[in-house]
Amino acid sequence: MIWGIFVLLTLVAIGIVLYPLLLSKSNTLTRGDAVPAILADQMREIQRDMDRGLISEQEAQAARLEIKKRILATTRNSEEKAGSSRNGGRVTLVVAAVLAPVIAAGYYLTMGSPEVPSMAFAARAEERAQTDEVTALAIQLRERLVSDPTGGPSEGWMLLGQTYQRMGRAADAVEAFEVVAEREDATSATFSMLAEAVAVANDGVVIPRAKLAIDRALDLDPSNPAATYFESLYYFQQEETRKAYDLLVSRLNQEEAYVPWMETYAAQINRIAAAADLPVVNLPSGPTSQPGPSAADVAAASEMNDADRAEFIRSMVSRLAERLEDEPDDLDGWMRLANAYTVLQEPDRAVEAYRKAEALLEQQPASDPRRAAVRAALERLGG
């Protein structure tokens, strides 16, 4: 379709260039024709002015004389050149008619994006509805967590924080993560997400408060890639470029196989490298989609725009579910999924997920607090 229109436009352009070939040869207007017409009009104008009494007979006479002289001059001038008009050069015209579309097509093929579809705002209602839904869900989730007398499950707060973060409401995300950060069950990821949210809330600056969270995150898990990422960002902002660079590169080198966050790492390393004239890194191309939101996804989310974030949120729950299909032994994963479904008000699925978690908990010591949590949840859900 689009190429058909391009062809049509091109044909029109070719037709336009070739059009003079259709014209008759003789009707070229020359100066000798055009100028006296105007001068004659001026003669009439003088007559009219005289009739109106605006100029005297003597003035009119002088003016007429001037114009007559001009008419004579024009006639003589054009007589000299008359008759030399040619009608050749048709080949040139054809060449131009061919060349013009070639230039246009050459430009367009390098600069155009014919593959990108148009998307009118009105046609994207579904996309919007999903975003609105996420917003509504976040509100519901928050209400439930706040009204929970036990302060709400940490997983719920984490989910809320991540949702806020992806909605671009970093300050709210900080609040949510901080609830968990003060609890016993805070993990390394809790702190690295908190650090990210704090940084995003402060225009991307890793302020001391964020640095504290990073330190905690690395204490709990020195291999947390998101924490290292933000630690590096901190040093980068402190103008300690070399340190920032080395941190990222050494963490990258610890991995043997491809993991998705490497893309983010590589991008940041190369940014630093460009600023500080250091060698760039090239990632071996790996699988492009790995299930589950990883820490680096979170890091990447900070560089996303709002729309990307919205997309990210929507897919989060389903990605988690998909991942758990492949990794059915992830206890915390099932807990988180169950919680998410609870919030999404899909009790059946929530129950199902809690059952999976319950099964896995069989292998855990009886004192594991998660047992109680799952039992309580199942009771609430009537499962």
Partner: protein, 188 residues
């Protein structure tokens, strides 16, 4: 003569063109406002501390008689670029031994206190300029601005806008070194 007159517009156009080319120099900021303070004594002022902070207030007398030049930074919690700059200034204080004084410009004290608690407080002294009058004395055109003041109270350098990014930091570092504001043997 006639030819000369006919050529005048062309010559004028070329002259204007040269000025335009100069004006397009990317290093030139048409919004930059020159300072009259450079090489002049720092203005007289005496500011109270920010209520709720333990950091003492700032007056002109604090800028005089120091063995090394000191840095005066005008900041405010409502100023977005100040956050980014804060980290850089903190580093200069912690790592390079720069002495930093602050003027808290038209800021609510409680906001300023919270801001400094969040970000840390690298300032030796902070004067609270609630009315903005001291800002005018310094010829302030926006926040943040950073000055280097010599031991005898002469303003040596002024930086308009946040000292953020390699170019700005480089310029600022150069100015600090030139002024001798960093202790000898300091790192970097």
């Amino acid at each position: 003569m006639k030819r000369l007159i006919a050529g005048l517009p062309f010559i004028a156009a070329v002259i204007f063109g040269v000025f335009f080319l100069w004006g397009l120099n990317p290093d030139r900021d048409p919004n930059e406002i020159p300072s009259v303070l450079i090489s002049q004594p720092a203005p007289a002022f005496d500011l109270d501390p920010v209520p709720g902070l333990e950091t003492p207030g700032l007056a002109r007398s604090d800028l005089v008689g120091n063995e090394r030049p000191v840095v005066v930074n005008v900041f405010a919690s409502w100023c977005v670029p100040c956050r980014a700059e804060h980290a850089v200034l903190t580093r200069f204080v912690e790592r390079e031994g720069m002495r930093l004084f602050g003027i808290n410009y038209k800021d609510k004290p409680e906001d300023a206190v919270k801001w400094l608690n969040d970000l840390g407080n690298p300032y030796e002294r902070i004067g609270s300029d609630l009315s903005g009058r001291t800002g005018i004395e310094w010829g302030l055109s926006g926040v943040p601005e950073t000055f280097i003041v010599d031991g005898d109270g002469t303003v040596l350098f002024r930086y308009v806008g946040p000292v953020v990014g390699p170019d700005a930091v480089e310029r600022f570092t150069q100015a600090l070194k030139q002024a001798g504001a960093l202790p000898k043997g300091a790192a970097s």
